[in-house]
């Protein structure tokens, strides 16, 4: 597993994601996720796969700081999320994350450029990275959309609901990529696309992501070839294996540059 592509010396110091002995449950029910150790290095492109119900989405929620673990620590970009207040976690997300969903990524009543610039609305730092003025940021968003093959749609001033699913996913990718985020989280972003479009989408995403870490979740193992690192959710999620956490048989899945 070679995952050193595009890494600079400085960003390698701090891992992008570090999870230790994390458990999560919805309410008082049995834990749905238990991960003893998971590390994603800065700039690493990770493919997470597993059947539905194996805890993929929960894992993403924990990394994004939207869900809070019962036990254990989640560190993202060197910040222990438990030490941050909820608004701080939200700001971290606005400033450093890019998120792509399976579908319905866009706010229907905003135009494409506004959709792409949404993270800038919630983080001044991210906005500053995109451009100094609103005009500059809009130009940057247009440029990004054009690079992702949406020149025609931008020129026509189309709204989100007029685009095909594949086009909508590309707008979502542009939004995730705008302002050089450190981490891109993609939750089955290609499952609504056909096979050819999938490969193109993933290649474009990985190329544009450059130095950012990418955590790409899918149940489709055939996509794993695009990524430097592959994680099997059933393997790392102890809760899915046993239905409960066993302290003895905790296989350590260390990911990252070895």
């Amino acid at each position: 597993m070679d995952s050193n592509i595009g890494l600079t010396g400085t960003t390698r110091q701090v891992p992008c994601i570090a999870m230790k002995d994390v458990t999560f449950a919805f309410g008082a029910r049995a834990p749905v996720l238990a991960v003893s150790d998971l590390t994603v290095a800065a700039g690493e492109k990770v493919f997470v796969h597993g059947p539905s119900g194996s805890g993929k989405s929960t894992l993403l929620g924990l990394i994004a700081g939207v869900l809070v673990p019962e036990n254990g620590t989640v560190e993202v970009l060197g910040h222990p999320l438990a030490d941050l207040s909820a608004p701080h976690r939200d700001r971290l997300r606005a400033e450093h994350f890019g998120v792509i969903f399976q579908q319905f990524n866009l706010v229907p009543y905003l135009d494409l450029v506004e959709n792409v610039l949404l993270p800038c609305r919630f983080s001044a730092a991210r906005a500053a990275r995109v451009g100094e003025s609103a005009k500059a940021r809009e130009a940057k968003a247009r440029e990004m959309l054009v690079r992702l093959g949406l020149a025609q749609e931008v020129a026509n001033g189309q709204v989100a609901s007029e685009l095909s699913t594949g086009q909508q996913q590309r707008v979502a990718a542009a939004r995730a990529l705008i302002g050089t985020p450190s981490l891109i989280i993609a939750d089955e972003p290609t499952s609504a696309l056909d096979t050819d479009a999938r490969a193109v989408f993933i290649e474009t995403l990985l190329t544009e992501a450059k130095d950012a870490s990418v955590v790409f979740v899918s149940h489709d193992l055939s996509l794993a070839g695009h990524f430097g690192c592959k994680i099997s959710m059933p393997e790392i999620n102890l809760a899915a294996q046993n239905g409960s956490i066993s302290e003895s048989a905790a296989p350590v899945r260390q990911v990252g540059s070895v």
Binding site: S57, P87, Q102, S123
Partner: protein, 420 residues
Amino acid sequence: MYLLALAWKSARARSAATLLTILSIALSVTLLVGVEKVRTGARAGFAQTVSGADLLVGARSGSVNLLLYAVFRIGDPTTNVSWESYQGFSSRPDVAWTIPISLGDSHAGFRVLGTNQTYFDHYLYGQKRPLEFADGVPFSGIYDAVLGASVARELGYDLGREFNISHGLVSAGFAEHADRPFNVVGVLKPTGTPVDRTIHISLAGLEAVHVGLNDGPPRLGGGRPGAVSAEPSDLQPDSITAFLVGLKSRAAALRYQRDVNTFRGEAMTAVIPGVALSQMWRVVGGAEQALRAVSVLVVIAGLAGMLTALLTSLNERRREIAVFRAVGAHSRDVFSLLVLESALLTAAGAILGVLLVNGLLLAFGGQIEARFGAPIAIGGPSVYDLTIVGAVVTVGAVLGFLPGWLAYKRSLNDGLTVKL
């Protein structure tokens, strides 16, 4: 600030529901503000109509009824007061002045009031203001007429204009007092009271036009026999509708009233205008409260409609809210978004409602005044209007807490993925 723009765009995206919501709130606010405007307008109008007189005397009837027909020209008098009784009660030593009032005729839908010179000397309205002339002088001849401001404006009559009067309120051919044209000698300044809609003539003039009718057809060979032959002394009326009394001392009012009410020669009623007015408000007060309660309920119904629309939209907005969370919106932003949207809709509705009611009053206030004799405050939005807007928007925003809180809870549970 960006959230406000988002809330606005989101509301605009659901234009049909948004427009209907705004419209229903606007109409309910129109009702609420309109009821209050008519209410205060009516009260103010009534209160300022007669301010100088200590007593009003008419034939035996309810005091409110007497006040309504004699002063406000609402309804018609039943019986008259005889000239002798009027003379008797106006020559008492405690009386400073009296104004006779004789009603029953009209011209072009405006009431004709027969009276005498004291009307222009002693009639007071508003804050004890005397009548003022915009043009011309008080009547002196039998066929002289003084027009109220609205009469002159609406009919376009100037000094020197001649006209007929007809019996009753409807201009019916057979009852026209033809051949006896009155002549406009004066026009009063606007007062905002029924005076504006009144044509004032002398009692003698009123009697003169009735001479012909009472004595059969007009005499042969006479173009305007009444005008030429009749002397004012011959044209003394048998009776008048009512009279206003100014006393030398207010303290004498109760005694004067008792004397009138117990007068054996004729069944009469004397009322103190202020007392009769407050009696009337007591009667009307219950209806006012009911009307106000109904309009408040209508506003609540309008707001409930908005809440329904917002709650219904929550499901389709779950994905959109997950997107906002993913790009870094706080969960309290999600809450604020819905509260803002709710406040925005109610603000739009309430402001539209206030504009609507003021526009309607501007357009139809004159007609309301014409029909009911009560001037309704036309002068743009009042403090009360703004209070209503503030209150409705506050309630609307507070109602927005419910969808806001639901969206907030859901956004916490949903995390980044929406399971639908």
